[in-house]
Amino acid sequence: MSKAELIGRPVPRKEGREKVTGAALYVDDIEPEGVIYGATVRSPAARGIVRDIVFGEGIPWDEFTVVRPQDIPGANYVALILNDQPYLADGVVNHPEEPVLLLAHPDKYLLEEARRAVRVEVEELPPVFTIEESLEKKEVIWGEDNVFKSFLVEKGDVDSVWSAADFVVEGEYTTGAQEHLYIETNGCIASASPAAGVTVWGSMQCPYYVHKALVKLFALPEDKVRVVQTETGGGFGGKEEFPSLVAGHAALLAWKSGRPVKMVYDRAEDMVASTKRHPSRTRVRAAASRDGKLLGLDIDFVVDGGAYATLSAVVLSRGTIHAAGPYNCPNVRVRSRAVATNAPPHGAFRGFGAPQSIFALERHLDRVAGQVGLTPEEFRRRNFIRRGETTATGQVIHEDVDLGGILDRAFELSDYHAKRVRFARENASGTVKRGVGFATFMHGAGFTGSGEKFLQSVVGCEATADGRLHVLAASTEIGQGTNTIFAQIAAEALGLDYERVEVVRPDTGNVPNSGPTVASRTCMIVGKLVETAALGIKQQLTSAGLLPEKYTPEEFERACREYVEQHGSLKSSSQYKQPDDINWDDEHYRGDAYGAYAWAAYVAEVSVDTTTYEARVEDFVAVQEVGRVIHPVLAAGQIEGGVAQGIGYALYERVAWERGRMANGQMTNYIIPTAADVPPIRVHFLENPYPGGPAGAKGIGELPMDGPAPAILNAVEHALGVAFDHAPLTPEAIMEALEREGAAA
């Protein structure tokens, strides 16, 4: 197979056959000899002091393994950033469903009865449930002021623009929590003993995050902890940091019982106890000139982090940097804060803060355009960032970005202009109103700022004597196609058949730390390391005089065999080195926030039934520039899936909170889009190869989460002539607004 054929070709998914035949083994499908089952007893209250833990009658408690905080061999915190979240609440609880006690038993039915028979008695303290209450310091529940983290991004002098500007437009936008709802719930199996150390197998995105957490929890040397990823049934960020908690709990029970322990959440537990997308509140103040130039943006962005810091600081960072969008605005200030509430910690979720702040900006720009007297399209076109201009952090865009061209393509595919006119005319009569709206945005790939430099990710390759190549990385296959694209990239680099490359299952005992599988970094950052590690194999063979510059697959195979015979093995590795032209000032939040951005324009067509108040997305067009597309089917699959999650975020997915606890923690009443709900999602890629990525690819995974919610709410405004500033937009909200309008008319 020649080189040009592999990149951009829809080769079959590596683990496709196992998945379609039911042979793929997820954690709950594995049943080790002698396994017992684990369960978590949780806090019934949002905040308080644990006064007593009562073991109810009728349960043979002597048969149970019980783990309390004092049974923890090492440190009682989930090692992450600030290390403030305990594995088991020790005396105080800070959110509903906080883990208090662990139980294990060979009979999972009796275990469930036992879990329900434990009563945790809490003397309640006054809780904080909303961003406003937290900011007002109604109670101080975390640190000195409830603020986990704050950022300030400044460009130009935003305060100098208000007085002279032709238009100053203000708005406030809010978004609710969102549940990941991966179809496979969280779960781990652990085996642990002081002699052998700790091994866990589980559903996860980041084996080395779990590894780091277990090393601290058990106070063990790094080589005594091993973490193996099992087939993972969806992540979306929900299995970034949370599995460290599940794995630790299962391992504590295994350590104490001396038996392997399986802990798999049922859906209800997963929904009420695990992380969700951060709720947000954004205030935007924009100044514009009469000729439609954006003069200033002052953005106050706040996210609700829940009870512990976990990843909120980094979520806030990404949301902050994306808040001013892909526009060339000379004066920008973004102030942002992540605050504490007595809800379970909010965590990583595809987009990681960016969907929240982009929702606010893209709604607001429609409003500003209206005030200035321009169409949403024209106003944006006059302000799109171009090559040589700078983002809010002062990053000079060196690539040839063409947002106008991306928007043209999206409008063409969606027939936007004709629909704008036609719907406006047709909406004058009838009860079903139609609208079309869009959003333009960017998404940075990889860790923010110096993050990749600190991660120092490593990928290994090993060639076998029969000329096969193994790729060794901790980057997980969670459905997005890691196994497939890594094999394509490595095969392309070496001119091998796709079938001759195998991506090894992530196991910290066997693979180097290529960093977490998050932040749209797997293809662009880790994929590049796969490419260089593969080329390293070739270089060793050519240096050894075993391989000519140009070679056939047979020659490669022979060279590998000879090399392995002479040296025992043939391995290479590649470590990330930050390109010299990336400069980031972490103290002032200035500089090159990301190595590369994907750019996009999404167009949504909606209908709103003014009798039932139901809004539906009828058509969706997603056009983006993501560098080179490695695998067209997988890439389109990422966009389509992300858009569907975005449609859910915009219209259906409402987390109903009741005193800090998710009250609708069931698939019955937390609604995600079904096959009957999704519109045609038409995906189009424009390709502009990025030299820093493998074969020119950038990141892609999070991008599609950013655009749908603002595009859809912009379309609803077009349909109804009523502006909505909160996602999800439920039928109840539409009803209230239309009734208000009706009363006013």
Partner: protein, 160 residues
């Protein structure tokens, strides 16, 4: 642990083989299939009949095995995902799912494949609306369903 004697025997046919399925009297078919027969391709997604990950064919009809008491399948014919490929040869739906991107993380895939197979057995030439309706009881969080619809349509075109 509940003792072995508290289980009942349920005689049924699973993937073409007659079996005496040992199950606790109130147990879900899902659990009995997974534990007793190690047919772990049938997944639990929600346990309340919403997501379809536990779909199996029961006497030719697609059901959520988390809602079926095992005791109720006496004399029935059950087909799970493990019984869809015959003699190692993939069903056209399975082949299309691999080629067209119908499977991402794979956890909904067994149920989704069975739902598609059930549809094609009832209606060999469905249109996209038929497909949407037939798959509406099987939730997928990865694909946005687009590639799943394409996969089913491809299986129709390239039928066996």
């Amino acid at each position: 642990m509940p003792e072995e004697r508290s289980k009942i025997k349920v005689n049924c046919t699973v993937n073409g083989e007659p079996v005496a399925l040992a199950a606790y009297p109130l147990e879900r078919l899902l659990d009995a299939l997974r534990r007793e027969l190690r047919l772990t391709g049938t997944k639990e997604g929600c346990g309340e009949g919403e997501c379809g990950a536990c779909s199996v064919m029961l006497d030719g009809r697609l059901v959520n095995s988390c809602l079926v008491p095992a005791a109720q399948v006496e004399g029935s014919v059950i087909r799970t995902i493990e019984g869809v490929a015959e003699g190692g040869r993939l069903h056209a739906v399975q082949q299309a799912f691999i080629e067209t991107g119908g499977a991402q993380c794979g956890i909904c895939t067994p149920g989704m494949v069975l739902a598609a197979v059930a549809l094609l057995e009832q209606q060999p030439h469905p249109g996209e609306d038929d497909i949407r309706r037939a798959l509406a009881g099987n939730l997928c969080r990865c694909t946005g369903y687009v590639k799943i619809f394409e996969s089913v349509l491809k299986a129709v075109d390239g039928g066996r």
